[in-house]
Amino acid sequence: MQVECPKALRILAHELRSPLGILQGYLRLLQEGRVDRESEMNMVSLMLKETGRLSTLARQASDLAAWRSGDARPEPAEVSARSLIDRLAETAAPLEIVSAPEEANQAIIPAVHVTSLLEALGALAALARREMPEAPLGVSLSLPPAPPRSVTISIGPTAALSGAPASSGGKTLSLDSGGHGLALMVAAAVLDAHAASLTTTAESVVVTLPLRGPS
């Protein structure tokens, strides 16, 4: 947390700049008074959209602080792995479920904050989509063979998840991608709180969540 705090502040500052700059820019254009009524209305809509971005950043900063300080924590709720990726496919559409073996579908993830976990996975899906905008995105579920028992959720291009060779030139996806770093930091904090691990490969983001004891 001590190392993460300055980084989070730096990312927050960086991400605040863009909507603030856009708001200031449109305000100056309006101040010049050289645009017609229709353009004015369009600018106002765009400005409102940017204020929405600012609100999201404020919420993400608050969430990050809450998860890292322990104020937010997983709830004593549980969710099946299949249910989780079904909801992810809905919220982060278009996202195809590429593979979900029956035993993985049945896996129960205990003690989760479902909404936050879904948001975290959604942020990772957004990262994959930005890095590979041309490729249709998918999610797959698997159960690693060795204990401790866990379930793996992989998000990436459907072709890559189906076992096709990587086409990104081997460059690992970066979690420091500009513009959405705070959302990814919150995702990392949520996953940490769920004792999950997060790794990236050339074409996918892999989250491993612990399961309830032997069933």
């Binding site: 863009s18 603030l20 856009i22 820019g25 100056r28 600018m43 765009l46």
Partner: protein, 496 residues
């Protein structure tokens, strides 16, 4: 004027939208690409953007990677890097990779960021213009057959000239070039030759005013041995020398009448007869004639053959004076700077804003030739203060612009001191080198010419002429006396 084309490369559609709105409102034509890969695709299709605004942090191919690939695909591309913050290492990398500037994305309430961005775009556009211009001029100076592009012709006044050169260069049609002395008629003649199928053959210039009639005939058509005293050997003339090439008959208006008749036959028969011979020698020559005199008026005055005029004037191209195409002054200065800096081993010292102003303010009565001499002198002496002083002095005491009307020889040399390029003869008398005397002589000559023209325009009605000249009737009479103009034998009528 075509607006400059900008390309924004950024993965943030909201920022792109704002920047597009801003820059479109500033008169630019703006395209956008969401990634470096998309920009590289776009670079394969013309037209290329004039300036690219490239975000540093982007998913996939980042800004620096995109910059390197884009500069490889289009080496002359001007790229301004955009970033949310200034990271020194990235700035250094970007500049090393060929970025023209590095600008922080606008994010301040006072608009300083926008001003910085607009400044960077302007600089990039200026750099692009200069780079293109220098490459063009270099190609011209080094005389590479495939790289030559003339440095004149960019002004609206020259557009008809350029169009006509484009249309007739590859034909054999005879061309008459008219215009004041020094406007570049020979340059255009050479361009016509260079762009013709005859380009690999000779381009031969004959100055019809430089030689007496008998010598000119021998010079043009050649002579047989013993044709005249001193003709010790048979010699081919310029027409034969120009066989399958192009001949430029400069100052055709000065050609003696007898020679005009002979030239007419040559043009009709495509054959020459040497002095002292009766044998016709076939020649295949494209003829370009040039004059600073109004041949139509000379025909009326019986000084030029009408049939020859119509032979020569199949296509007439009037080359405007430099003062009619001021936008070409600075490009011509740049051209001559590079040319003479290379010739004389001097540095290319570009003129300051003050000197540029002086160059633009001057009327250039001697046209491009005068400008060339001023730049040559500037390159040799490397003394801008002297050049400016000369230009300003010449502007204050202007000489009359050379007229296309038949007139007495110029009374004075161009008022801007010119480096001696061998084209002008020296003057021996102390009066001729006395500037005030020269100025006075030039002023008198100009006044005399203006008064005569005004009087002739109004059939020697002195009242009307005085009104045209903006002086009183009495002043005109005094001036006529001073200039030695006598109206006593004219059909004068001073009625209002």
């Amino acid at each position: 004027m075509t607006p400059a084309r900008l390309a924004i490369v950024d993965d943030d559609p909201a920022f792109v939208g704002y920047l597009k709105t801003l820059l479109t409102s500033r008169g630019y034509e703006v395209a956008s690409h969401p990634s470096g890969a998309k920009l590289l695709e776009a670079l394969k299709r013309p037209p290329l953007p004039d300036v690219v605004l490239l975000d540093v942090l982007m998913p996939g191919m980042n800004g620096l990677e995109t910059l390197r690939a884009a500069r490889e695909a289009a080496p002359g591309l001007q790229v301004v890097m955009l970033s949310g913050n200034q990271v020194p290492a990235t700035i250094v990398d970007a500049v090393r990779a060929g970025a023209v500037d590095y600008v922080v994305k606008p994010d301040d309430p006072d608009g300083l960021g926008e001003a910085a961005l607009e400044g960077a775009i302007r600089n990039a556009l200026e750099k692009r213009t200069l780079t293109t211009e220098v490459a063009r001029l270099r190609a011209q100076v080094t005389d590479e057959p495939d790289g030559i592009q003339v440095c004149w012709g960019t002004s609206p006044a020259m557009r008809p000239v350029v169009t006509m050169v484009d249309r007739v260069a590859d034909s054999d049609v005879t061309v008459l070039l008219s215009g004041e002395s020094g406007v570049g008629k020979e340059v255009i003649a050479r361009e016509l030759h260079r762009r013709s199928p005859r380009r690999s053959k000779n381009f031969v210039k004959v100055n019809c005013a430089a030689l007496p009639a008998d010598l000119l005939e021998s010079e043009m058509f050649g002579h047989e041995r013993g044709a005249f005293t001193g003709a010790e050997a048979t010699r081919i003339g310029k027409f034969e020398y120009a066989h399958e090439g192009t001949i430029l008959l400069d100052e055709i208006g000065e050609m003696p009448a007898a020679l005009q008749a002979k030239l007419l036959h040559v043009l009709q028969d495509n054959a020459v007869t040497k002095v002292g011979s009766n044998r016709l020698v076939p020649v295949d020559v494209r003829v370009i004639a040039a004059t600073n005199r109004p041949l139509d008026q000379m025909i009326r005055a019986g000084q030029f053959r009408e049939d020859l005029y119509y032979r020569l004037q199949v296509i007439e191209i009037r080359v405007p004076a430099l003062r009619e195409r001021r936008s070409e002054i600075l490009p011509l200065v740049e051209f001559f700077l590079i040319k003479y800096a290379a010739s004389y081993g001097r540095p290319v010292t570009r003129p300051s804003a003050r000197m540029r102003d002086a160059l633009l303010a001057y009327t250039w009565p001697g046209n491009v030739r005068e400008l060339e001499n001023v730049v040559k002198r500037f390159v040799i002496l490397q003394d801008e203060a002297l050049a400016i002083a000369d230009l300003e002095r010449a502007r204050v005491e202007p000489l009359p612009a050379p007229s296309a009307a038949p007139a007495a020889p110029p009374a004075a040399a161009p008022s801007v001191p010119a480096a001696n390029d061998g084209s002008t003869s020296g003057r021996g008398s102390s009066e001729a080198t006395n500037l005030p005397a020269l100025a006075r002589q030039a002023a008198l000559s100009a006044e005399r010419e203006a008064i005569q023209q005004a009087l002739e325009s109004f059939r020697w009605n002195r009242r009307k002429a005085a009104k045209l000249l903006g002086v009183s009737y009495k002043t005109l009479l005094n001036k006529m006396k001073e200039c030695g103009i006598s109206g006593s034998d004219q059909p004068a009528s001073d009625a209002h």
